[in-house]
Symmetry: C2
Subunit: 339 residues, 2 copies
DNA sequence: CTTTAGCACTCTTAGCTTGTGAGTGCTAAT
DNA sequence: ATTAGCACTCACAAGCTAAGAGTGCTAAAG
C-alpha cells in the first residue's frame, strides 16, 4: 500500500493544488508548479497509476484529477506537514480568548468565534457532558410571590437556573429550604440525586415537599437538557464561500440539519476518534449528510468531563491549517479553563 | 392618495399572488384567480394607473407587475386582513413554550425556535436591555484555590456568572465578603453601582478590596456585555428557501452580517417603531443591507425593560401570517415571563 | 365614457449548436 | 524508463432561435 517517493510527491501536489484552486488538476499544472524534474507525460502515467490504486478520481473522462477520499486519507496520514499559525494570527486568537475569561459559556462562544473567523469553515463547540458531574451549590432565591429562582452551580463552574413555583413563604423559610437543599443535594453524584431526594422527601413531610420534588426533578433533567443546550456554532456563512456550494440546495439541506443541532451531536457521538485532532473524511463519516464533507475536531477537558471543538468543511479542506488551529484552540481552552 | 375600490382590490390581488408565487403577476392571472367581474384589458388599464401612482413596478418593459415598497406599505396599512393561526399551530407553539419554562434564556431560545419553524423567515429575539435594571442577588462562591465563582441575579431573573481571581480565603471569609457585597450592591440602580463600590472600597481597606473592585467592574461591564450576548437567532436556512436567493452571493453577504449579530441590533436601535407588531419594508429600513428585506417585529416586557422578537424575510413576505405569529409569541412570552 | 376584443410588439427563458481549450491516453522515438 | 507528438474527449461559454407570457394601443361595443 506504500507509495514510492515520486507517486507520493505527485499525490501531495494534486491534493494541495486542488485544495487551493478547487479545480481538477492536470499533469501540466503539476509539472509546472511543483517542479519534480519530470515531464507532464511521465506525471500522466503516474497519475493513471494513482487513479487505478484508488487515490485519485476523475470527474469525467478527460480533464484533470481530484483526490479521492482515500487520497485525502493518505495525504492526511503520511504526506501533510505541520504548519504553525503566524504570530499575528495566534496573537489575534489569544486576545479574543483573553477578553472573554468570564464564564465557561462565554469562553466557548469565543472559541467558536475564533475558529470561524480564522477559517472558511463551519465551527462548532460541544460543551462537556454532565454525566460525571456533581453539584457545587444549590440556591433557592425569592423571585416574586409564589415563585422562586433556583440557581445551580455545577462542579465545573457551569451555572444553570430556572424558575419554579413555590407556596408563599417568608424570606427565612426560603433560606431554610435553600440550606436544606444544599446540605442534602450538593456534592452528590448525579445518579444518587434521585435517591437522596427521595430520602429527603420521606423525612420532610412538610409543605416544602412539593418544592423539593421540583428541585430534584430539575436536577435530574439537567443531565439531558444541557446536552441540547450546550452546542455553539458559527461560520455558517463561511460554507457559502466554498465553490462546491454554487448551488443553493445542497447547502440548505445541510444548514437546516446543522442549525437544529442534532447533526453535530450525532456526529460526535457516533464517531470513534483516535488521534488528537481527529479527522474524518467524506464517506468515513457515519452521518449521511456529512458524507460529502470533512471534519477536524479536538477535545478539551473541563473537570472530569470532556468537550469537543471542531471544524466542518468541504473534503477539499486545508487540513494542515485546520489541525493547527484546532490544536491551538485546544491549548487555549485547556489553559483558560483550569480549575 | 386613497385608491378607489377596484384599484385596491387589484393591488391586493397582485400582492397576494406575488407573495404566493414569487412570479410577476399579469392582468390575465388577476382576472382569472380573483374574479373581479372585469376583463384582463380593464385590469391592464388599472394596473397601468397603479404603476404610475407608484404602487406597482415592472421588472422589465413587458411581463407582469410586482408590488413596489409603497404598494406593500399600502397593502399592510389598509388592505390586509388579520389571520388567525390554526388550532394545531398555536397548540404546537404553545407546547414548545410550555416545555421550556425553566429560565429566561431557554424561553427566549424556544421563542426563536418556534418562530423559525413556523415560518420561512429568519427569526430573532433580542433580550431586554439592562439599562434600567438593578441586581437582585450577588453571590461569591468558592471555586478552587485562588478562584471564586461570582453569580449575579438581575431583578428580571437573568442569571450571569463569571470566575474571578481572589486571594486564598476560608469558606467563612468568603461568606463574609459575599454578604458584604450583597448588602451594598444589591437593589442599587446600575448607574449607582460604581459610586457604591467606591464607597465600599474606601471603607474596606482590607485584603478584600481587590475582590470588591473586580466585582464592581464586572457588574458595570454586564451592561454592555450582555447586550452583545443576548441575541438569539434561528432559521437562517429558511432564507435559502426564498427564490430570491437562487444566487448564493446575495445571501452570503447578509448571512455574514446577521451571524455576527450587530446587524439585528443596529436595526432594532435605529428603527423607530409605531404600531405593535411593527413592519418595515425594504427601503424603509435604515440599515443598508436590509433594504431588500422586510422585518416584522414586536415587543415583550421583562421587568422594567423590553425585548424584541422579530422575523426578517423578503419583501415578498406573508405579512398577515407574520403579524399573527409575532403577536402570538408576544402573548406567550408575556404570559410565561410574568414576575 | 367605460369596457373589451384584437393585434403587433417586447422581453425573458430554455434549449440547441458550435467553437475553444484543457487534458487525457496511446504510440513511437530517445 | 522517459518523453514528444498526436488524435481524441469533454466541459463550458457564447451565440442563436423559438416559445410564451404579458403589455400598450386602437377601435369597436355597451
Amino acid at each position: 500500500m506504500a507509495l514510492d517517493e515520486r507517486k507520493a510527491q505527485i499525490l501531495k501536489a494534486v491534493v494541495e493544488d486542488y485544495v487551493k484552486t478547487g479545480l481538477p488538476v492536470g499533469s501540466r499544472a503539476v509539472a509546472r508548479k511543483y517542479r519534480l524534474g519530470v515531464s507532464p507525460a511521465t506525471i500522466r502515467n503516474e497519475m493513471a497509476d494513482l487513479e487505478e490504486m484508488g487515490y485519485l478520481d476523475k470527474p469525467h473522462t478527460s480533464s484533470g484529477r481530484i483526490p479521492s477520499d482515500r487520497g485525502y486519507r493518505f495525504y492526511v496520514d503520511e504526506l501533510m506537514t505541520d504548519v504553525r499559525l503566524s504570530r499575528e494570527e495566534s496573537a489575534m486568537i489569544e486576545s479574543l480568548f483573553r477578553s472573554k475569561i468570564r464564564d465557561v459559556v462565554s469562553l466557548l462562544k469565543a472559541t467558536v468565534k475564533a475558529l470561524s473567523e480564522a477559517t472558511d469553515y463551519l465551527a462548532f463547540v460541544l460543551g462537556p457532558e454532565y454525566v460525571t458531574t456533581t453539584f457545587e451549590a444549590v440556591y433557592l432565591l425569592p423571585a416574586s410571590v409564589g415563585r422562586a429562582l433556583l440557581v445551580i452551580v455545577s462542579d465545573v463552574g457551569v451555572v444553570e437556573n430556572c424558575i419554579i413555583d413555590v407556596p408563599p413563604m417568608s424570606r427565612e423559610e426560603m433560606e431554610y429550604v435553600s440550606n436544606m437543599l444544599r446540605r442534602h443535594l450538593c456534592h452528590v453524584s448525579l445518579d444518587q440525586v434521585h435517591t437522596k431526594a427521595q430520602e429527603l422527601l420521606s423525612r420532610e413531610t412538610s409543605r416544602y415537599s412539593e418544592v423539593i420534588a421540583q428541585v430534584a426533578e430539575y436536577l435530574m433533567s439537567i443531565t439531558e437538557e444541557s446536552e441540547t443546550e450546550q452546542l455553539f456554532m458559527g461560520g455558517t456563512a463561511n460554507l457559502l464561500n466554498q465553490p462546491e456550494f454554487r448551488d443553493v440546495n445542497r447547502v440548505q439541506d445541510l444548514l437546516e440539519a446543522i442549525e437544529n443541532g442534532s447533526l453535530i451531536r450525532n456526529i460526535m457521538i457516533t464517531q470513534t476518534h483516535t488521534t488528537d485532532p481527529a479527522i474524518t473524511i467524506g464517506e468515513e463519516n457515519e452521518v449521511e449528510k456529512v458524507k460529502e464533507f470533512s471534519i477536524v475536531y479536538g477535545t478539551f477537558r473541563l473537570g472530569q468531563s470532556a468537550g469537543r471543538i471542531g471544524l466542518l468543511g468541504p473534503k477539499r479542506m486545508n487540513y494542515p491549517r485546520a489541525v493547527a488551529i484546532i490544536r491551538y484552540c485546544e491549548q487555549m481552552l485547556n489553559k483558560y479553563l483550569v480549575r
